[in-house]
């Protein structure tokens, strides 16, 4: 492997509380985070992603398992001895220190000379585009500026890994989008490994090289944003990231690279055969179809039929909710308003859906 591991977790677990009231926040997690990677831990609140970050920073000690940074164990090392820095969700800027003192704090703790510190502070201010604000105090800055100071402060120490704990959640949407691009730029410019924690799937898709989707203290899937979105391995992943239609079906047969499934209503759908998956005859599966991958077609050429229940106009797109014939589920269909075709639909219209085999993802959980 060309890239080396910045961080390696081996069977890492963290339990809080005692005896009966014990809560498992992390359950036997093993994971490799590569060097210079923008790695995102994505999951709903309570999934253990923040606990994992706090274990990396050293604020918590693992109940069991190993934590290695560039091959060396971090066991027993207090936070101030770890070459890792954190950007806190609330920024946690020191209110009694100026911006320059905040940014220079880590260097001061390392015992660097005043002149060197001042120069580095200037570099950091330039990096996060906050020239001329060095003498301000945190309370005199906007949320976005505080965010940049927090970044500069954490980066000033040139950590091996930068940990980011939902740093954008307090910003408004426009600023958040801006900072997403900014963070990606900083990561590329500094070449530092970023471990980013978020519950926002869009944020994760925008910035990450790889994403780990977490639930109940476990990692469900690790992959590039494209893999996570297009080839979710679990129902939870497909549901959590983007919108999905789930159709229960049963396996019938496979031929010529196609796998065929039958829906409860008798309709048959095909998917690309996954050579790694061996299905039994009659096996129950879940078919996942992204709303934008299904399309309307002329009656007779598609596989699924249904009645329009709702049409929602979203500007760029239109979302149509269909009640499928012979099934009780609502099917979501999303199409771009490039030609305005979908908007012509009205509630109660009978339509036919075409679903290409490439659009169908088969899940067995």
């Amino acid at each position: 492997m060309a890239e080396s591991a910045a961080i390696e977790l081996r069977g890492l677990s963290k339990r809080f509380g005692h005896a009966q009231e014990q809560v498992t926040a992390l359950d036997n997690v093993s994971l490799i985070i590569r060097e210079n990677e923008f790695f995102t831990l994505l999951g709903p609140s309570g999934c253990g992603k923040t606990t994992l970050l706090r274990l990396l920073a050293g604020f918590e000690q693992p109940s069991s398992g190993e934590l290695l940074l560039e091959g060396t164990s971090l066991a027993g090392l207090p936070p101030y001895r770890r070459p890792v820095n954190t950007v806190f969700q609330s920024y946690a800027l020191f209110p009694h220190m100026s911006v320059a003192d905040n940014i220079g704090f880590g260097l001061e703790m390392q015992g660097r000379e005043q002149a060197e510190r001042a120069q580095r502070v200037q570099e950091m201010l330039a990096l996060v585009k906050l020239h001329g604000l060095e003498n301000r105090y945190p309370a005199q800055l906007s949320g976005g500026q505080q965010q940049r100071v927090a970044l500069a402060r954490a980066l000033a120490n040139q950590p091996k890994v930068l940990l980011l704990d939902e740093p954008l959640s307090a910003l408004d949407l426009k600023l958040r989008k801006e900072m997403q691009i900014e963070l990606k730029r900083l990561q590329l410019e500094t070449g530092i490994t970023f471990v980013f924690v978020t519950h926002d799937q869009e944020e994760a898709l925008t910035m990450s090289d790889r994403i780990a989707v977490m639930q109940h203290g476990q990692i469900l899937q690790i992959g590039s944003p494209k893999t996570i979105y297009e080839q979710p391995s679990r129902r939870f992943v497909a549901d959590f990231i983007g919108e999905s239609n789930f159709l229960e079906a049963e396996y019938i047969a496979a031929n010529d690279g196609w796998a065929h499934f039958r829906l409860p209503g008798g309709v048959e759908l095909s998917a690309l055969e996954d050579p790694l998956q061996g299905y039994r005859n009659g096996q129950k599966v879940t078919l996942v179809i992204r709303p934008e991958r299904a399309s309307l077609c002329d009656a007779g050429s598609g596989q699924l039929q249904g009645v329009v229940e709702n049409v929602i106009y979203l500007g760029t797109d239109t979302v149509v909710y269909l009640r499928l014939d012979g099934a009780d589920t609502l099917f979501q269909l999303r199409s771009q308003n490039q030609y305005g075709a979908a908007t012509a639909l009205g509630v109660g219209d009978h339509v036919t859906l075409n679903i290409a085999p490439e659009a169908v993802r088969v899940l067995t959980d």
Binding site: A57, F59, P78, L93, A154
Partner: protein, 288 residues
């Protein structure tokens, strides 16, 4: 108009019970002393203030007399030591309290205030029982085969008594400011490479400074004028300003001098407080 009406009771209280007596005291301090106590109304003199620093020789020439100055200095030293001791004991206590889970914290606050339920006199007598020559502490020392110590009726006893009496006034304001500190700031300090000592000196103490200042003033100022504790634990010798002033109105029957002493004390306290507050004046981030 309504607002003025609401202020009236407070203005009356301050005016009638503080400004008026103070004015009276100031007036008295410039009068001639009466032979059997009281004053001679209508004959003005600065004799009381002169007496603070000088004594009159037989030929009426002024000689420097530092007796009273020494009592002032001793009071200041004792108050400083008491404040420092209270700070050294009170800060860790307040920090410990602030780090406890919330329900437990309230219990601790309650415990800190428990001594106030007992009268100050009773608490000082309790110290007499502990500190006297055949008191509990000396019994213990002798039981261990050590020499007994003479503690009661010394400045040491006053210092111990004052520290004990005023400790809650140090703990509570410091606790109040420590409790407000976001613990993530401490984590941030650790994260950036500060060990426990430097997290304390660079983050926790600076952020608790308003509480430390308030606590120090709340201990220092009443200590300067303390009367009961020096009287009981100091053995009634004029070891501190409070007793000296009391003496002038009592046994010495020198009201003008007593008043003058009170005013000198007031002036020094005000000056000290101004210097102290100027030294630790608020930093810009607190103005927003």
């Amino acid at each position: 108009m309504k607002r003025v009406g609401l202020l009236l009771p407070a203005l009356f209280m301050i005016g009638f019970f503080m400004l008026l007596p103070l004015g009276l005291m100031a007036y008295v301090s410039f009068l001639e002393r009466g032979v059997n106590g009281g004053v001679v109304w209508g004959s003005y003199t600065a004799e009381a203030y002169i007496q603070f620093l000088f004594e009159r020789d037989l030929d009426d020439s002024l000689l420097l007399n530092t007796d009273y100055l020494q009592i002032f200095l001793r009071s200041f030293t004792l108050s400083c030591i008491t404040s420092l001791l209270a700070l050294l004991i009170g800060f860790p206590v307040a920090l410990y309290m602030a780090l406890q889970p919330k329900p437990y914290r309230n219990l601790l606050i309650f415990l800190v205030t428990v001594p106030f339920w007992t009268n100050l006199l009773v608490r000082n007598y309790a110290w007499i029982l502990l500190l006297r020559n055949n008191g509990l502490i000396n019994d213990l020392l002798q039981g261990l085969g050590l020499e007994p110590l003479r503690m009661l009726y010394t400045p040491f006893a006053i210092g111990v008594g004052l520290t004990y009496s005023y400790l809650p006034f140090m703990v509570l304001p410091i606790y109040a400011s420590l409790e407000k500190i976001d613990l993530r700031l401490v984590e941030a300090a650790f994260d950036l490479g500060a060990d426990r000592r430097r997290a304390l000196t660079r983050v926790i103490i600076p952020l608790a400074l308003p509480g430390i200042i308030a606590g120090t003033l709340l201990v220092f100022v009443p200590c300067l004028g303390a009367y009961v504790t020096p009287e009981l634990l100091g053995g009634g010798k004029s070891l501190m300003i409070g007793n000296l002033i009391q003496n002038q109105f009592g046994a010495a029957r020198n009201w003008p001098f007593g008043s003058a002493l009170a005013f000198v004390l007031l002036g020094i306290v005000l000056l000290a407080m101004m210097l102290y507050l100027l030294r630790f004046r608020r930093t810009p981030e607190e103005t927003t």
